[in-house]
């Protein structure tokens, strides 16, 4: 074997192993510090709306990053994430229910819960083992952390129960089963059987929201989630899961235990979904069934596809986009004059025309002034003009309320992303520090370009590619009288020169 090992050159030895570990850890810590400073600054601005948006980003970030483990890394389309969030949410809710919240449930005449039903007995039982000691403002956070973690564990167990039988299926069938399970979880929570635990349609009110609305708690959980899931992705387990995504048959033929890795990924994902559910109910300040509709999973899927399925960086970017539209899209849903709406539509069309023109220029597509550019531009211009002149002309004097405009805006945005970048904004790429330092481990060095005659074909065509001609001459010397490539003409031409 020694003879084989000798052929491994220095660069291979270097590239085959993770490099600059110390530097990257320092940079990551520095990045975290910068994030803390930015958060501290943003929190200091004192806008509760901004704080809520940031906290929501972190909470949904936990959910999308965990959903990405299944949808992106394992390559399984799972549509049941809201079900696991529901389990985590209700578990957290039950564990954190305070004495006053219990009294409120009991005093409400319509509750499905009373002193003897399971949920409240459970809650009281927990008080007996010491959780009631953790209700003072100073110690409540301990109870919250316990509640959220237990919520995650219960969701993970549910993930195992759902995953073990269903993960034998593939593709669309599996997607339907996960969707079905998500809905089964939600609908069974609303039935009489589970009402003693969930309090039916009334839900559990009075969940302390100081944690879910705090950027520190939510970003703390997000940081832990990103840490664990990205470390998992870059470990041998993550590679095996990506192998399953790429080709199940090949992965199995290479010794990867399909069932084990799928169930493992599914359960880890469900665990973090449960945690996200716990944070989500805290953000909302209560648990109700309609907080866990399928639209929740739909929002996450939009975030995944917009940012780039498979990339944690991209998924967080997509989540930021979705949360921004959700939290700051209010102006879209207000009442404006019809003329104003027309101007807005016209400006959008003009922007689309400009974007198309720039895209075609950037992609070197000709003609740049495609009919689409003319069409969008002209229609947009007319709309703006009509909208502008309408008050003078005495037409269009009604008003219109943009009800649901936020969802429409998000859908249009998604369509645009899917047309121009079907793989999402960042695609499968991940953020890495090395790229900032110009490290390109997948590119040959100049030395290697010179040595490898096949790679230097491009250089051969260039006048004065002296280095390449040398390389060709060297190879020619080894095999006298034989053209370098059986099919290529270029090397022969280069020799003539």
């Amino acid at each position: 074997m020694a003879s084989v090992s000798q052929r491994i050159d220095a660069r291979t030895q270097e590239l085959a192993f993770p490099r600059h570990r110390g530097r990257n850890i320092l940079l990551t810590l520095g990045g975290l510090l910068a994030l803390v400073i930015i958060l501290w600054f943003l929190e200091g601005l004192g806008s509760s709306k901004l704080n809520q948006a940031l906290a929501l980003f972190a909470i949904w970030g936990v959910a999308t990053v965990s959903l990405n483990l299944v949808n992106g890394t394992l390559g399984i389309l799972s549509l049941g994430h809201h079900g696991f969030m529901l389990i985590g949410g209700y578990t957290t809710g039950l564990l954190i229910l305070s004495e006053t919240a219990r009294d409120r449930i009991l005093s409400s005449g319509r509750s499905s819960m009373n002193e003897t039903t399971l949920g409240l007995s459970l809650s009281r039982g927990l008080d007996l083992i010491g959780l009631d000691a953790l209700t003072t403002p100073e110690t409540l956070w301990i109870r919250f952390v316990i509640a959220v973690l237990v919520g995650g564990v219960v969701a993970a167990i549910a993930g195992l129960i759902v995953g073990i039988p269903s993960l034998r299926l593939r593709g669309d069938y599996l997607a339907i089963v996960t969707f079905g399970f998500g809905e089964i979880i939600r609908l069974s929570a609303s039935t009489r059987i589970f009402a003693p635990l969930t309090n039916g349609a009334l839900g559990l009110p009075g969940i302390p929201s100081e944690f879910g609305k705090s950027v520190w708690w939510t970003f703390g959980f997000l940081a832990i989630t990103v840490f664990i899931i990205s470390k998992l992705k870059y470990s041998s387990y993550g590679r095996a899961m990506e192998g399953i995504r790429e080709d199940e048959i090949a992965a199995e033929a290479m010794g990867v235990n399909l069932a084990y890795h799928k169930v493992l990924g599914f359960a880890i994902s469900a665990f973090f979904a449960g945690i996200a559910g716990g944070l989500w109910v805290s953000w909302l300040g209560g648990v109700r069934l309609d907080f866990f509709l399928f639209t929740l999973t739909f929002f996450f899927l939009v975030a995944l596809s917009a940012g780039g399925t498979g990339s944690i960086t991209g998924v967080l970017l997509g989540t930021a986009l979705v949360v921004f539209v959700r939290q700051y899209g209010d102006p879209l849903e207000e009442t404006y004059a019809l003329a104003t709406w027309l101007i807005i539509a016209g400006v959008t069309l003009l922007l689309a025309a400009a974007a198309t023109y720039l895209y075609r220029t950037f992609q070197r597509q000709r003609p740049r002034m495609h009919p689409a550019v003319y069409g969008l531009g002209i229609v947009g211009l007319i709309a703006v003009l009509v909208g502008w002149l309408a008050p003078n002309l005495g037409i269009l004097d009604g008003t219109f309320r943009g009800f649901g405009m936020r969802a429409i805006f998000l859908s249009v945005l998604l369509i645009v992303i899917m047309i121009f970048r079907p793989e999402g904004i960042v695609g499968r790429r991940e953020f890495n520090w090395g790229a900032l330092f110009g490290e390109r481990p997948d590119q040959p060095t100049d030395e290697e370009r010179k040595q490898d005659a096949w790679l230097s074909n491009a250089q051969l065509n260039r006048p004065g590619g002296a280095a390449a001609a040398e390389a060709v001459a060297e190879v020619q010397a080894e095999v006298p009288g034989k053209p370098l490539l059986e099919t290529g003409d270029e090397p022969v031409e280069a020799e003539d020169k």
Binding site: M1, S3, V4, S5, R7, I8, D9, R11, T12, Q13, L15, A16, F17, I228, K231, L232, S235, S236, Y237, R239, A240, E242, G243, E246, D247, I249, A250, A251, E252, A253, M254, G255, V256, N257, L258, L264, I268, R428, R440, P441, D442, Q443, P444, T445, E448, Q451, D452, E486, T487
Partner: protein
Amino acid sequence: MLEIENLSKSFGGLKAMNDVSLNVGKGEIVSVIGPNGAGKTTLFNLITGVYQPSAGDVRFEGQSIVGKKPSQIVNLGVARTFQNLRLFTNLTVLENVLIPQHYKLHSTWLSSVFRTPGYRKKEREMREYAIDKLAFFGPRLMSFRLHQPVYVLSYANRRRTEMARAMATGAKLLLLDEPSAGMNPKETREITQIIRRMRDEGGYTILLVEHKMNLVGEISDRVVVLDYGEKIAEGSYKEVVNDPKVIEAYLGKKAEGEEETEIQKAAKMDGRSSE
């Protein structure tokens, strides 16, 4: 090392494999040849557990491997390449060669998340082993190629990656399904050398399916000929290519005492084999 006994496989009424027996000894290079549809790839699928045989037995190092899952069979030491490339296309060359070593990683997912010293040592060993296997192909898959995703590689380099991936499982027996498909004569010569070196330097036993007769003739210790799921000849390359049954299977025969039928004439004009 590998003993196949009276192996049969039917798909409905079609007998894809009929009573085939075959032995491969340690350190041998055995080629399986035969016209299209002869059952060569079916044989590989039966050995590696993709299909379950209808009858017969496959033993590897004395242990029956019939009924085991493909992933278990790899762990025992039988790895394969695929006729129409099944690489992990969006992953890099290095990742492709690391995945087959995953089953040898004896640490839990938690210790791999927290990068315990035990896991790190194992990961380092896996990477060393990976480049050791890639080194069989000289500089072609080295250096910057390690980090290129498979979809940017040339067809020949993909074939090489797949062979390196099979070697990286740590298998003792490699089943190579048309290793030289899609390669030009120069590359075929190179791959011939590499298969020989895999046996001599790597100590692998090799069972291969191949259509290029010069490659088969050059490296095979023994050649097995299949036709319509049956073994029609076995022996050295010279013996096999002169066997009238083999010639008949590839070229068809002239009906005795009669003129050629229209079908046979047409088949000859097409340059295809017929009955």
